[in-house]
């Protein structure tokens, strides 16, 4: 049984009088421990798919199950609690709270848990250690480089030990060097910590780090080429029926 099961999902938006169909019956399995890259042109529905998996948006029809939980059927209150426990989200534009330090930003997801202050402290330091920013804990986002900001954002995404980490164009605003640092970090999270990662990207270099690459075009999923050296990885994404 896959960690993420997307079954016959339809998604359409209403823009003024026009109905826009993003997905028309998409089916996808994402196994635990896999590193999936979703590529495709703008407007192909990559971010929408991430939002659906994260429970930020509801499918028009179809079901989405993550670790056995029927995400598409949850109520808003349940979704928030579920998201806090199971989803780590990384944005293209980092989206750190500028008034909080790196430490406080990373601590945010833990405020929603019952962990004590001491336990939270340990976890935050561990997460910042994993991303190599233990010496930047008291820095504010404006005092960090873009790459460092994104690493803090990743630390925030992993600090609560989520079931899936979803990344929406994580290298989109980074220079080449910072991009490589972030991608190496993601690879490490997948290899060492066995984290299930789904990354939306336009960047071929980023996709190369994934074990499976899928292309989204006009709402259809097409299996792409994964990097040869990683092709043998157990992590895989099974593309189901797509139209």
């Amino acid at each position: 049984m896959a960690l993420v099961e997307i079954r016959d999902v339809h998604k359409s938006f209403q823009r003024d009088t026009q109905r826009i169909d993003v997905f028309d019956g998409i089916t996808l399995d994402i196994d635990e421990g896999s590193f999936l890259a979703l590529m495709g042109p703008s407007g192909s529905g990559k971010s929408t798919l991430l939002n659906l998996i994260a429970g930020l948006d509801k499918p028009t029809s179809g079901t989405i199950t993550v670790a056995g939980a029927h995400v598409s059927e949850m109520k808003p209150g349940q979704l928030a609690a579920w998201r806090a426990r199971h989803i780590g989200f990384v944005f293209q534009s980092f989206n750190l709270l500028p008034v909080l330090t790196a430490y406080q930003n990373v601590e945010l997801p833990l405020l929603l848990t019952r962990l004590s202050k001491r336990e939270r402290d340990e976890r935050v330091k561990l997460a910042l250690g994993v991303v190599g920013l233990e010496d930047r804990m008291s820095h504010y986002p404006r005092q960090l480089s873009g790459g460092q900001e994104q690493r803090v954002s990743i630390a925030r995404a992993i600090v609560a030990d989520p079931t899936v980490i979803l990344l929406d164009e994580p290298t989109g605003q980074l220079d080449a060097k910072s991009s490589q640092e972030v991608l190496t970090l993601l690879r490490r999270l997948n290899d060492e910590f066995k984290k299930t990662i789904v990354i939306v990207t336009h960047d071929a270099n980023a996709a190369e780090r994934a074990t499976t690459v899928l292309h989204l075009e006009k709402g259809n999923l097409i299996r792409g080429d994964a990097v040869p050296s990683l092709r043998s990885s157990e992590a895989s994404a099974a593309v189901g029926r797509s139209r």
């Binding site: 930020l56 998201r83 293209q92």
Partner: protein, 380 residues
């Protein structure tokens, strides 16, 4: 409490705006407390007075005088134990702009009538002995840095001319409604200067039993009914209450102004909160993505309003309490015992609570209802 650092960080985002918002709340509640205290002080003044003291004034109005000759006749009324009289002077001090309450009194009988005014015996003797002596409240002495033995010159307004008195005694009232911002001097001296012997502003009578107040008052008023100077006699409380009603419907006026100020500040605060919330649309969406529930975000935004409101209330209400207490403010002796009461503080806190809820509600609901996907898309 674990969300407090987040709340404080949000408030620290635009420090100047937060400070100004808190200052506006503080000012509104300070004004509210001040206006409310005017009402409570006037009400307390109306309630002040011994039930065993009656006041006789000219039936035409308090600004008209009564003959001094009435004193003996009043003293002779059955049930009346003692009689004294006083006259409003109303001068100005210093540059002619400084004003405080000033009375001409019959010294000996007045001090016997008001044992609530306490002073050292030797000072009392000195005041009684000297015709140009003045008796001054302790706070008034402190306000102008006066010393016993010092001459004080006043410019008469109702009774023109320069009037110089020598401070011989300083009193401390045992009842705050008597006030400490008053200067009193010999009625006889005023009469002599004015060359109008034989007129008093009003009479104060001490009676034997409180239950005799109404019949004694009637006896007095009947006695002078057909004279050129008819009297109007009532209890001291009724006399003070009539002063209060001279201000008109002060409670309504002050209450209306107070609430108008609070409402205006409510709009300012709500606007500032709305601006803050609108600027953070993206952050609210991010927090929702992290897993913050609608209820938690509602609570966080409301907590911001609470911090602003509570800080403003603490400064505004606490400041009013402290300021009036330490400065012994009495509006030139017109509002003796001016002090923010516990009831006013409670009422002010309730107003602050309403202010917090009302100003925080709209942005809090907006944050809770924010559709996260469209909010993220908007700012992406």
């Amino acid at each position: 409490m674990k969300y407090l650092p987040l709340v404080l960080a949000n408030l620290g985002r635009h420090k100047r705006r937060t400070v100004l918002t808190i200052a506006s709340v503080a000012l509104a509640l300070f004004l509210f407390a001040s206006l409310q205290t005017v009402v409570t002080t006037i009400a307390a003044a109306a309630n002040f007075g011994s039930a065993r003291r009656l006041v006789s004034t000219n039936a035409t109005g308090i600004v008209f005088t009564l003959p001094i000759a009435y004193a003996n006749r009043l003293q002779a009324v059955p049930g009346v134990q003692s009689v004294t009289w006083a006259n409003w002077f109303g001068g100005r001090y210093g540059d002619g702009k400084t004003f405080f309450a000033t009375f001409a009194i019959d010294p000996k009988s007045y001090l016997e009538m008001y044992p609530e005014m306490v002073m050292p015996p030797e000072q009392k003797e000195a005041f009684l002995r000297e015709r140009t002596a003045a008796l001054v409240g302790k706070h008034l002495m402190e306000t102008f840095g006066w010393k016993v033995g010092q001459n004080v010159s006043m410019q008469g307004t109702i009774f023109p001319g320069d009037w110089t008195f020598t401070i011989r005694a300083v009193y401390v009232p045992t009842d705050p409604q008597i006030g400490e911002d008053v200067l009193m001097f010999h009625h006889e001296y005023m009469e002599e200067r004015l060359n109008r012997p034989g007129l008093a502003g009003w009479y104060i009578l001490k009676i034997d039993h409180t239950e005799n107040a109404a019949p004694i008052a009637k006896t007095i008023d009947d006695m002078f009914k057909n004279s050129s100077f008819a009297t109007k006699t009532g209890t001291e409380q009724a006399f003070n209450a009539s002063f209060a009603t001279m201000w008109g419907n002060v409670s309504l006026l002050m209450g209306t102004i107070g609430m108008a100020v609070v409402f205006a500040i409510l709009l300012v605060t709500a606007n500032a909160m709305m601006m803050g919330a609108r600027e953070r649309t993206r952050e609210v969406a991010v927090l929702k993505t992290i897993g913050f529930s609608d209820r938690t975000l509602f609570g966080v935004v409301m907590l911001e309003a609470v911090v602003i409101g509570a800080t403003g209330a603490l400064i505004g209400l606490g400041g009013a309490k402290l300021l009036y207490k330490t400065t012994h403010f009495s509006a030139g002796g017109f509002l003796p015992g001016f002090d923010v009461t516990t009831n006013t503080l409670v009422l002010g806190s309730a107003v602050a609570l309403v202010l917090m809820v009302a100003s925080g509600l709209v942005p809090a609901v907006r944050a809770a209802r924010l559709p996260v996907v469209s909010a993220l898309r908007q700012v992406a």
